[in-house]
């Protein structure tokens, strides 16, 4: 009531609320502003993670010491992992594009609990600061790897506590975001927005939110136990006191395997929006995609043990986990089939987001198929904990989530900023990035097959060739990344004004102005019988 007058005509970027300037952003409860806050903070953390990755690859350019000593290297891959997992890919798509777009896509004014939403972002920042404390102060940067495996995680002399606590706070932020989205999707859909008319991106956010809610607390309590172990010596995972380090791994992966689906599901959702839009065609098998989303979310919760095939589990457990891992592969395959079928007889408008989406499908297939090698018992025993695993999960997490993030970025950019980017440069950036990506991670498959273990600071001469190619790839990838970022940053400020619906999409966010007004809709939208997110004609 009292805000409507002030905002007439203004969009969410320009509107003037209770606070001015920066305060108007960091205290805003507007889901779009919060989404942008996440975008900037996550992009910063992503750039940091990329720099660390670059340093690691540089170190591996040649055997022996190249630029840093072993302790620094171990700390580098730990911090790279913690940043990329807990601060970038887990919150990534849901927190940025979920916040920016999801309420508009379902025809709502905001999320169900806007203040809680802001609190999530603040918790995110608090978590980041805590982890950074671990790096800068105390007895050295953590060097345990992002998995914090017991018992090394309470033997190491490095400053682990803030990092663990930071990860806990980040988890809490993720839980609250998931909670908020679930309630929003349940309660705030506009009239006519039935469950069977929900855009697929929203559906994947729904599945993701459930995993966030049910899996994150398990890792939370596990990290608390590690912290208590370090401070009080409760003995829960300490073999000297009767604890079982393998149990730590169970608890850790009960969260961290579903976390992979937290990362990849919204990515699949974003791709499921982009492919139909640029094919100008109804998505193929809408209900099958929803079913596969929920199947992935559910079955993905029960397969964590495939990270532990060499850890000393019982044979029965290994058998079970391997079997279920193969079953969880099927819904992912179904999605790929449906995406490709959507292109069939479409009218394909090849634009930057589409390039990203197609390359997503390719790298996701490589990642997924290599996952089959890791899901099978005999082959996993051989490649577990080698560079092969590193290649596999970078194909999924970086190739999957990362590519989908860039796809979504280029797709929704005109809506978010109300300006269009330079398409030629965006395409060049994509091409360079894609080539760099392939060159960076493909050799790791080969290195793993040769038997090079992961997390190696130094390696034997026979692994040199693959590592050189990989390092060169990292430079190409970073070049592509810089092109993309420069183009987007420049265009956000100086690009030509964007149309309301530049890609001729059918979802609701394209029915409002670019950038969207403060309360999203002038009038609450109503979906008729014939309307739907993919009803092209």
């Amino acid at each position: 009531m009292h805000t409507t007058n002030a905002v007439n005509g203004a969009n969410y970027l320009t509107y003037q609320g209770k606070y001015k300037g920066l305060l108007g952003w960091i205290f805003s409860t507007d889901h779009k502003r919060i989404g942008l806050l996440y975008l900037y903070s996550i992009a910063t953390m992503f750039a940091t993670g990329v720099l660390l990755g670059l340093a690691m690859k540089f170190e591996l350019l040649a055997p022996g010491k190249t630029i840093m000593d072993a302790q620094t290297y171990n700390a580098t891959f730990t911090v790279h992992g913690v940043i990329m997992i807990f601060m970038v890919v887990v919150p990534g798509l849901p927190a940025v594009f979920g916040n920016l777009m999801m309420p508009i896509m379902i025809g709502a004014k905001d999320v169900a609990f806007p203040k809680l939403n802001l609190l999530s972002w603040w918790l995110y920042i608090a978590g980041v600061v805590l982890v950074l404390c671990a790096l800068l102060f105390g007895s050295g940067t953590p060097d345990t790897g992002w998995t914090f495996y017991a018992p090394y995680s309470f033997k190491t002399g490095t400053n682990l506590l803030p990092a663990v606590f930071g990860a806990f706070v980040l988890g809490f932020s993720s839980i609250l975001t998931g909670l908020n989205f679930l309630v929003t999707i349940h309660r705030l859909r506009c009239p006519g927005m039935k469950w069977t008319k929900l855009p697929l991106f929203v559906w994947t956010l729904y599945g993701t939110a459930w995993i966030q809610l049910l899996a994150t607390p398990v890792v939370g309590i596990t990290l608390v136990l590690v912290a208590l172990e370090r401070v009080f010596g409760v003995g829960v995972f300490d073999p000297a006191l009767g604890g079982d380090p393998v149990l730590y791994q169970h608890l850790f992966w009960i969260y961290s395997h579903p976390a992979v689906y937290i990362m990849i599901l919204p990515a699949m959702g974003a791709i499921s929006e982009i492919i139909p839009t640029f094919s100008q065609k109804h998505i193929f098998g809408y209900k099958a995609i929803i079913a596969s989303t929920l199947a992935i979310a559910f079955v993905g919760y029960l397969v964590w043990g495939h990270h532990m095939f060499t850890a000393g589990m019982s044979g029965t457990a290994q058998y079970y986990f391997s079997l279920l891992t193969f079953i969880v592969a099927i819904p992912s395959a179904i999605k790929v089939f449906n995406w490709i079928s959507t292109m069939y007889k479409g009218s394909i408008n090849i634009q930057t987001p589409f390039y990203w989406a197609v390359s997503f499908i390719f790298v996701f297939m490589v990642g997924g198929l290599s996952g089959l090698v890791l899901g099978a018992l005999a082959t996993d025993i051989y490649v577990h904990d080698t560079a092969f695993v590193v290649a596999h999960f970078h194909y999924i997490v970086f190739g999957g989530t990362g590519f989908a993030f860039f796809a979504a970025m280029h797709y929704w950019f005109p809506k978010i900023f109300g300006r269009m980017y330079d398409k030629a440069w965006a395409n060049i950036g994509w091409l360079v990035f894609f080539i760099g990506f392939l060159a960076l991670y493909s050799p790791m498959f080969y290195l793993g097959m040769m038997g090079m273990p992961r997390r190696y600071y130094d390696y034997l001469e026979e692994f040199h060739g693959g590592n050189i190619l990989s390092t060169l790839g990292s430079w190409v990838l970073v070049t592509g990344f810089i092109i993309i970022v420069v183009n987007l940053v420049r265009s956000a400020r100086k690009g030509p004004p964007a149309e309301m619906n530049p890609w001729h999409s059918k979802t609701l966010e394209w029915t409002v102005t670019s950038p969207p007004p403060v309360l999203n809709f002038e009038k609450e939208p109503v979906l008729g019988e014939k309307d739907g997110p993919y009803n092209y004609d």
Partner: protein, 209 residues
């Protein structure tokens, strides 16, 4: 925390009791899984060290445990009644019932304090010399888990009491009323969750020996 979220200044027409109820339930789910992780640890170690757990459990005082169970159940009833009172418009009754619940919560904590104090005076606390020297590995695990799980539960009691404080204020100044009972309802749900967890902690630590 979801219960504070129904008053939206920027988007004023969004009070929806159903939303805050689902929000609270979802939050309860995460709490359940948080304790769930600990229950997994407990069940695995109980299975691996059945005899030691048996022995260690005899050290705990069943009477105090049972007493705490009883008062916590009573408090669950009083807070549930308080929501009924509010719906019937009996504001004073509602507040009185809340106060009773609050006092019982404090009582529970006092009991816990005494119980832990006794353990400490016997030299039993995580990482204590006595535990490391005289106890078997299974017993160390039992007491480690005992302190972590009852400690985390006590922490939840404290959080519950704080929320109850807000609910009391809300009922007193009329912001929480028969038409907008969400804060009290959610406070009740949270308190029942605390009770629910205790229902499992009690037999696992005090009874099974």
């Amino acid at each position: 925390m979801a219960e504070h979220q129904h008053a939206h200044i920027e988007h004023p027409d969004m009070y929806d009791p159903e939303s805050s109820k689902i929000g609270m339930w979802l939050f309860i789910f995460t709490e359940l899984l948080l304790f769930g992780g600990l229950f997994i640890v407990y069940s695995v170690y109980r299975y691996l060290n059945a005899d030691a757990f048996h022995l260690a459990a005899e050290e705990l005082n069943t009477f105090i445990g049972a007493f705490n169970t009883v008062i916590l159940l009573v408090s669950s009833m009083t807070i549930a009644m308080s929501t009924t009172a509010l719906q019937k418009g009996h504001k004073k009754v509602a507040i009185a019932l809340l106060v009773i619940t609050f006092l019982i919560g404090i009582g529970f904590l006092v009991n816990k304090y005494i119980e832990w104090g006794v353990k400490f005076s016997h030299g039993i606390w995580p990482g204590s010399e006595q535990m490391l020297n005289e106890m078997s590995q299974g017993e160390i695990l039992f007491f480690g888990l005992y302190f972590v799980m009852t400690g985390l539960h006590a922490l939840h009691i404290i959080v519950g009491l704080i929320i109850m404080g807000f609910a009391m204020r809300g009922v007193a100044n009329g912001k929480v009323n028969a038409k907008r009972p969400s804060l009290l309802d959610n406070c009740g749900l949270y308190w029942h969750l605390v009770d629910l967890i205790w229902i499992f902690l009690f037999p696992l630590f005090y009874l099974i020996h």
